[in-house]
């Protein structure tokens, strides 16, 4: 896969913006920003709240905004369709079973020094690296 060189500025700025969003979510709504959790709540009518919809729409909106008015977002998918389906099922099911994902556990949980999240993050990082090693 050919890719533009690593840009530490883009990485750090992007990460800081993510962090800012997460901190402001706690400051304003008192909630952690676990995207798998927010999305899964929308799949159950009883637990879907307005802010869940608004947040997800915000995610979609950011993509539309940048892609349409700034520059096309580079997305280099590396997998064939059948594997995308398998991957999606695993990510969806796994995030629910673990009650979190890269944002919920990886950012919010680890930032709170939650041992549960630290463990989850270590496990999914390892699993991800092992999987790439075996599959790609």
């Amino acid at each position: 896969m050919s890719i533009v060189e690593f840009s530490w500025i883009n990485s750090v700025v992007g990460g800081a913006v993510i962090g800012l969003s997460v901190v402001l979510m706690m400051a304003s709504l008192g909630k952690v920003t676990g995207i798998s959790g927010i999305l899964s709540n929308l799949l159950k009518p009883a637990s879907a709240q307005g802010w869940h919809w608004a947040f997800i729409l915000g995610l979609l909106f950011s993509g539309i905004l940048v892609n349409t008015f700034f520059s096309p977002i580079t997305i280099q998918v590396q997998s064939e369709t059948p594997l995308l389906i398998v991957a999606g099922l695993l990510v969806g099911f796994g995030s629910r079973l673990a009650n979190g994902c890269t944002s919920g556990h990886g950012v919010c949980g680890v930032a709170r020094f939650s041992v549960r999240s630290i463990v989850a993050t270590a496990v999914f990082m390892s699993a991800g690296m092992l999987t790439v090693y075996l599959v790609h």
Binding site: I3, V13, F93, S103, V123
Partner: protein
């Protein structure tokens, strides 16, 4: 209403961060998870920056009595490390390692009308629904 606006703005901000850091590009994520070839440290730097801001920010914010628009904070209290957590994280990691996609970046990517991303997102939703169906049958 304030909550809805706040959530929308914060979702947009989060998405902008994902786009800026290129976490929406599976190739970038897979480059980080690929330890045997040319390692791409992007995700590490993104995560480090996000963690630093969040750790410091949470300390400040959580020292307040309450959030701005809610009666109290909803910080997760579950501390249990069990098979569910480990297996769930492992399955999640496997899926992440196959596609280089996870919920947030995939949802942002949907906006580009990329059909591969759409397939992933639909499968991810199916996986979540499957869990909700199976969960009551799982031993806790």
């Amino acid at each position: 209403m304030k909550k809805i606006v706040a959530a929308f703005v914060l979702g947009s901000l989060f998405g902008l961060g994902l786009i800026q850091s290129e976490m929406v590009n599976p190739a970038r994520v897979l480059g980080f998870l690929d330890v045997s070839r040319q390692w791409d440290p992007t995700l590490a730097f993104v995560m480090a920056a996000a963690l630093l801001i969040t750790a410091l920010g949470y300390r400040v914010v959580l020292s307040n009595d309450k959030p701005w628009f809610e009666a109290g904070f909803s910080v997760p209290t579950n501390r249990v490390i069990d098979a569910r957590l480990i297996v769930g994280a492992a399955l999640f990691g496997m899926g992440w390692g196959v596609a280089g996609l996870c919920p947030g970046p995939a949802l942002v990517g949907v906006a580009t009308l990329n059909t591969d991303i759409a397939v992933f997102v639909l499968a991810m939703i199916a996986g979540m629904i499957a869990f909700d169906y199976i969960a009551p049958r799982l031993k806790s």
